[in-house]
């Protein structure tokens, strides 16, 4: 065990020294620290006026807290059935597992590491806790209880996962039964909330009442933790004692089972560690590989052959072939479904909202043009999360694109072509469906769709720019910081132009096509700036460095 402590000590020390040696890394950590400290200070010392203006119902906090507990615990528990633990690295597998150290000590070492990594989470959550102080009128102690509850949950869920693993290892039938049992935890909560809302009507007040029902605390672990923390928060000591007792029994059983059972978790951990290693490496370098994206999914090869394209164009047709293997419907994939759902949901919600007419002082029905405008903004934001791992980024991992004897700009455009087309296909489906439910002027729908697609070009351009400037650094954190900064810098002028256009032409009586007034300058700007970046960074594919 001394060797393990030595390794932990050295790892921490070297991590600190490494940070000190990299000014940019230090700067980013410093920025994050300052942001968090600011959030804490502004939360605790917010003015009374701000607190009064932004005060929210405490039941909203209860609901959000329950959702958060589900989100952090259920996926980890599900993992327990197949992989046992998620806290070992490849280096651990290769060096610690093969060392003459008992299995249980190794497992405790893994848990210790996991706890250390939670310290960072604790600091992050403390910032949110301070915000809750202001918004929900909590005391500092209550805010710390909320943060402590999350940490306790993160810690507890590791033991529960371990428990599941211990009793399910080698018993697939038992594992599948327990798997459904874990799924039932969120299903039960959703059912309880929906049943309440549907029986009494879909209003904000009923929603708040639904998410704060005591029966939501009946679910094992997640509900118990919720009941325990809320009991502490509200001074309901009996509730605290009951749920605290249930949690204590669960942990004790888990520990006893772990201590008694003979574990052989190495093989299960190995495959998990390998895929996690690949995933972490791709995050670190900012370069996603197909294996990371697809996991262990089996792909059936139906037809072999790229069949089209010469020179740089071969890269584009290769991407089409790869796309058809990833998803049978090529450009139509889960991202399209998410976007379609978001556009319809947001569209419907905004459509149901009343619109204040300043000139007459009346509340009127929402205009479709405003719906298109709002949906474009939200969908463009959602698109950001889909755009990080485009085909062209994966191309940078291989040497082939650099060696192809064709012009660099042609290679760049061809490599990025599928990533450029995809948002337009998604936009066509999402805004087409929105037009059916929202109606209005078709020009608004078309310009909004083009505008949405043009944001895809900006995201690619920002990615190219970031690759050009810091892509060789091998540091994913630095890369993401630059990438996001470039997105903001590239988008701002277009948005300003759009606002100016809306203000001027809208005042001239064209308010009925507000979405078009805003969208046209935005997409024109987005296309021009993206093209400029493509041309300026054309040498990106000249060499790997």
């Amino acid at each position: 065990m001394n060797a393990v402590f030595y390794m932990l000590r050295k790892t921490v020390k070297n991590e600190i020294l490494d940070t000190l040696r990299h000014p940019l890394k230090l700067l980013i950590y410093g920025f994050m620290a300052v942001t968090m400290v600011y959030a804490v200070i502004s939360g605790f010392f917010a003015s009374d006026e701000w607190i009064t203006d932004n005060r929210q119902d405490i039941r909203l906090l209860y609901g959000a807290y329950l959702v958060l507990l589900h989100v952090i615990s259920v996926p980890i528990m599900q993992k327990g059935f197949s992989t046992g633990t998620s806290f070992f690295s490849m280096a651990d597998v290769n060096n610690v597992f093969t060392a003459p150290i008992s299995d249980k000590k190794i497992l405790l070492y893994g848990i210790g590491r996991q706890l250390a990594s939670m310290l960072f989470l604790a600091i992050s959550f403390s910032a949110y806790g301070s915000i809750a102080v202001g918004i929900f009128d909590l005391t500092v102690q209550q805010s710390l209880m909320l943060v402590g509850g999350i940490l306790l949950m993160l810690f507890a869920v590791q033991f529960i996962t371990l428990f599941f693993y211990c009793i399910c290892s080698g018993h697939p039938r038992r594992a599948s039964v327990l798997k459904y049992f874990v799924y039932m935890i969120p299903v039960y909560s959703i059912f309880v909330v929906l049943a309440y809302v549907f029986s009494r009507g879909f209003t904000y007040e009923n929603l708040l009442a639904a998410v704060s029902q005591p029966i939501l605390d009946f679910t094992p672990i997640v509900g118990w933790m919720h009941g325990f923390v809320l009991g502490l928060l509200s001074g309901a000591w009996l509730q605290t004692a009951v749920y605290g007792g249930l949690l204590l029994i669960s942990f004790s059983v888990s520990i006893v089972v772990f201590a008694k059972i003979k574990l052989d978790f190495y093989e299960d951990v190995l495959s998990q560690a390998e895929s996690y290693f690949e995933f972490r490496d791709s995050i670190r370098t900012g370069r996603m590989s197909e294996n990371v994206m697809l996991g262990s999914r089996k792909i059936n090869v139906r037809k072999t052959g790229i069949n089209r394209g010469h020179g740089a164009a071969a890269v584009f047709f290769k991407h089409l072939k790869e796309g058809s293997r990833r998803s049978r419907f090529m450009f139509f994939n889960i991202n399209t479904v998410v976007l379609l759902s978001v556009s319809l949901l947001v569209g419907k919600i905004i459509q149901d909202l009343p619109m204040f007419e300043g000139a007459t002082g009346e509340w009127l029905e929402m205009k479709p043009t405003i719906i298109y405008l709002a949906v474009t903004v939200i969908c463009a934001y959602v698109q950001f999360f889909f755009s990080a791992a485009g085909d062209w980024v994966k191309e940078l991992n291989k040497h082939y694109i650099f060696l192809i004897p064709d012009s660099a700009v042609k290679k760049l455009i061809m490599a990025g072509a599928t990533s450029i087309i995809k948002p337009f296909v998604d936009g066509l489906i999402a805004f087409g469906a929105l037009y059916i439910i929202a109606g209005g002027n078709m020009i608004d729908a078309v310009t909004s769709m083009i505008s949405y697609g043009s944001f895809g070009c900006v995201y690619i351009a920002a990615n190219i720019l970031a690759q050009r400037i810091v892509g060789g650094s091998g540091n994913g954190g630095v890369f993401i910081t630059f990438y996001m900064s470039f997105i903001v810098l590239l988008m701002i002028p277009g948005i300003i132009l759009g606002v100016v256009s809306l203000a001027n032409f809208g005042a001239a009586g064209f308010f009925s096509i507000s979405a078009t007034l805003m969208a046209v300058p935005v997409f024109l700007w987005n296309f021009i700036i993206s093209l400029c970046i493509f041309l300026l960074c054309r040498n990106l594919l000249d060499n790997i460095a």
Binding site: I299, T304, G305, H399
Partner: protein, 256 residues
């Protein structure tokens, strides 16, 4: 012909390659040998046009970054990286299309047959072992009928049959007047066919020999390698030598 003139590659203050100059004529097989971190892979990547550098590199008379040079150059990287979602055959097709090759199918089949990949024709890149992936790299590089080929540790991960076949291919390349550079630690594998050897230490070429001069002295490649690297190590300051022995070229670059 591969002509390298005053090649220097720096990563900030760290010099990975310092003023390398050499020429490999058509039909010659040159070996880049040296301990880990000597700068062999960096030099190969510079010649392949994958890295920025100072100096000049020509492939058959063309600047190595030019399209003409790219058309004539084959490169087998140290770590194979196939396209995960393309089949083995589609790798061949992709290269043929990207390089605008004509009548390539028979040659592709022949290369795949020799590398025992024919039965893996419809397997995806992600389903192959490391050795198989290395075989795809070799087939892709040789499909274009290159006039200059760069092999970076080509024998690592290959099974004995593939090693034997690769050796035969190297003899054929030599006979076809192709310039070949091989970076390797496995000196015994190149013993039969090398023409020139460049022994690198700390980013520099410590010694350059041709086969005839070495054979005259009765030495072999391995003896020569140890003589030069041990001598060089003892004459250079200890810290520098330790650094070189500890890390490979890539990890040194990252450290800096």
């Amino acid at each position: 012909m591969i002509n390298v003139s005053h090649l220097t590659k720096k990563y900030h203050r760290f010099i990975a390659n310092e003023n390398l100059s050499f020429m490999i004529n058509g039909g010659e097989i040159a070996v880049l040998a040296g301990p880990n971190g000597a700068g062999k892979s960096t030099a190969i990547k510079c010649i392949a046009g994958l890295l920025r550098f100072e100096g000049e590199i020509e492939i058959c008379g063309y600047n190595n970054k030019s399209l003409e040079a790219k058309r004539l150059l084959g490169y087998i990287p140290e770590i194979p990286a196939p396209f995960e979602l393309l089949t083995v055959w589609e790798h061949m097709e992709f290269i043929a299309r990207a390089y605008n090759l004509e009548d390539w199918q028979d040659r592709a089949e022949e290369l795949m047959r020799r590398m025992e990949l024919l039965d893996k024709r419809d397997k995806l890149g992600r389903e192959l072992s490391k050795g198989m992936q290395q075989k795809i790299s070799i087939c892709c590089a040789l499909l274009i009928k290159p006039q200059a080929v760069l092999f970076d540790e080509p024998f690592v991960g290959l099974d004995p049959h593939a090693i034997k076949e690769l050796k035969a291919m190297l003899f054929e390349l030599k006979a076809q007047n192709v310039s070949v550079i091989i970076s390797t630690h496995m000196l015994e594998t190149v013993e039969e066919f090398w023409d020139k050897v460049f022994i690198m230490m700390n980013g520099r070429i410590e010694a350059e020999r041709d086969r005839r001069s070495v054979e005259k002295t009765g030495e072999n490649l391995e003896q020569l390698f140890f003589d030069i690297t041990e001598r060089s190590r003892s004459s250079s300051e200890p810290e520098k030598a330790d650094n070189a022995a500890a890390d490979d070229g890539e990890s040194r670059r990252k450290k800096k």
